[in-house]
Subunit: 498 residues, 2 copies
Amino acid sequence: MASVLRPSLRLRSAARLPVARSLSTTAHLRAGEKPYFPNEPSAPKVTTAIPGPNNKAATAELDKVFDVRSINMLTDYTKSTGNYISDLDGNLLLDVYAQIASIPVGYNNPHLQKVATSPEMTSSLINRPALGNFPSHNWAEVLNTGMLKVAPKGMNQVFTAMSGSDANETAYKAAFMYHRQLQRGGPEVDFTEEELLSTMKNQSPGSPQLSIMSFKSGFHGRLFGSLSTTRSKAIHKLDIPAFDWPQATFPQLKYPLEEHAQENAQEEKRALEEVERIIKEFHNPVAAVVVEPIQSEGGDNHASPAFFRGLREVTKRNNVLLIVDEVQTGVGATGKFWAHEHWDLPTPPDMVTFSKKAQTAGYYFGNPALRPNKPYRQFNTWMGDPSRALIFRGIIEEIERLNLVENTASTGLYLYAGLERLAKQYPEHLQNLRGKGQGTFIAWDTPKRDQFVATAKSVGVNIGGSGPNAVRLRPMLVFQKHHADILLESIEKIIKKL
Amino acid sequence: MASVLRPSLRLRSAARLPVARSLSTTAHLRAGEKPYFPNEPSAPKVTTAIPGPNNKAATAELDKVFDVRSINMLTDYTKSTGNYISDLDGNLLLDVYAQIASIPVGYNNPHLQKVATSPEMTSSLINRPALGNFPSHNWAEVLNTGMLKVAPKGMNQVFTAMSGSDANETAYKAAFMYHRQLQRGGPEVDFTEEELLSTMKNQSPGSPQLSIMSFKSGFHGRLFGSLSTTRSKAIHKLDIPAFDWPQATFPQLKYPLEEHAQENAQEEKRALEEVERIIKEFHNPVAAVVVEPIQSEGGDNHASPAFFRGLREVTKRNNVLLIVDEVQTGVGATGKFWAHEHWDLPTPPDMVTFSKKAQTAGYYFGNPALRPNKPYRQFNTWMGDPSRALIFRGIIEEIERLNLVENTASTGLYLYAGLERLAKQYPEHLQNLRGKGQGTFIAWDTPKRDQFVATAKSVGVNIGGSGPNAVRLRPMLVFQKHHADILLESIEKIIKKL
């Protein structure tokens, strides 16, 4: 039972650090803190080099039929619990990557187990509907008691989808149809013969030369439309034809934000001017701007609420829709249910897309004119998957029951404070710490990033990177202060191994 | 219990018709035929006008949050069994549309029920992996005992996806990467600085002006890349930007095929010449041709095995990949597991895409060079859904246990013979009957198509259309001769009501 990770190294000047205090307990559980998973391990366990022999053998077997070059580790989900992920060699890691930010309420969550074994789930698994044609009798109820219950303010409708990419692409399609409808003069104005003929040849005016504007370093998916708005890394885009769509420079802020308020405000002003200039001047008219609240895959780049309020103003002023891509930030991770709640917007975004922690996907909207003027324009066979909508509903119930958004907000502040101390202690390894007040959506830059992430496994932590040199934390919503203590001491161990 | 559909009308000259013979039995069950679903209703039941009051009320409720203009009927899946679909007013229809050709082994199939309630399913529902990074320990086994067991000849690898659209789009991405790799001189040749920089701006050469060729009337999905290859109906494409990609004319054959062999062969020769001319001349080089074995959504347009063999030759000769889109034709519906098995190809297609009856999606391939030269080029967070892969495995097991591909082949011949007789009897209502020897993948043209499809409900049948004026049959693989008898007599009833 003894973990190889029982603290042997102690933080220097430990006395004033919560992170250090925890080291004096064996189970890391802080006084008064009740664990969400009573059967969760008390600490990581590393028993072999990672990958160990079983993982290596299984990966070689899988390689015969499935590309394994991106494999991080083969996982035994039956042995994973709460915040802990298990490989095939008995190693049990604290998981602060969580399936690329996609597990909200812990592995083998008991409430989700109940949802997964309910008769309703069985029916939706084996009688999969073509949702646009034959929704089940209780589809309105599933939506209303599930994903619409947490719809962002000002939004009361949803188009369901299956992944972040197609959530964004269907939102883009809605934006293009809306844009052309305004140009035509309303929903009742019919298509011209020229439009009907030219679209069959993929030509304008039926298939118009319109665009979606995105930001440099943004990530919005990997299908053809979404990839055309993804600007984070060349490797995602190389060799794939792309639309001639514009990009603006995301504000390049200095961290910590509060120490550089004035020059950051200046930079955001510049960015907003660039956005407006592109909207006015780009040769393919801009139907919508898509933006992440925090650029996630592209390196955890932040902007201020003022910037986003400005973006809302600029887009409104120019009749351009604003799509907020909450695929990675949504569902509690930033200490609000939706990250854009941090902004105090005067009017809501036009569409908000979601996926990942929702375990399903889609976009919310409020304006009824975003329903296309005729049926079958926004349509596909499955339009999502009701079994995944039921899981999302279960996740929402669990978030409410355990107050997990609040937990993430307060655990995030606690974790951030610990990281600030580590950054002071190891300034060469923790630079540009960011995400204060953004729940556990925290990141920093480090010169040996890839080595940092690889070394993490050896001390019992599964951790991810983003952008060229950031370490990104994406723990689950059930990540608590005692997990933060383990993570903080693990980070120090990693640094000492570099 | 008495159905309003108990035969009151009898076919004229009934004596020589199997369809008429069945009318003398009450349950429609033919001698020696064992029903797959012992608890399946013996006949449709229509108790209200359709939509009835409950369906109308529930649709109005759903309309508040979800676009209902494409709704065919709200469905009570808990009361649907085998080939019969239930609405909310107690109506029970023989379903030969089957969720747009997506239900293979019947509603509430007992074997799938077992799969859906297995511990493996529960785990994959609540511990959803990022498959490219953290596949579960048994993912190779799930693939090998499931979707790879039925992989088309010559294909031993799979890239998993979530819908037909993204199956096609990931196949297109693979084709583009392969094409550029050949141009570069192999997988080891690295990207140039110019490519790395230009792709971040969506510009050539990094984002090259390459194309996918499709056929007029073809349907391949609704996201931006797939929609650029979809050519079936303007309504799917209007207002959405599209790539400048070419289309060839699909052979315009005359039916019945065997009566027009010579002129059809001539037309297919013309079509192949057009394909080759476009490949040689189109300004955006063609990386792949995508084709459906039977153009489904576009109107059930057929071509001969010789045409497809010719297409394989033309593409090979020009170093263009051939992607066979089996999203609608695959998984048994044509009396072969994959429709392209009808063609006797000299070399396999380069990729075969699937979805719908597979209840999951993806593309098969055999050539290892279709794995991109570096990891993370073909990647996304979920890369499919293991819970849906388990359902596909259960479907495969059920298909094998009950010999459902053979059933579909023989039931299809039986049904086709009955339709031929009806076509002789009602030549103005059943024209261009097609799909002989293609399982139950049968269609015909009818001048009052929309009225035909709408009237079908009143006689207890749920049926769909395709193209401008075709009725398409897409029954499940558990559709048997006694169901064919009910369908045949229902068609006659519909005709008499028109």
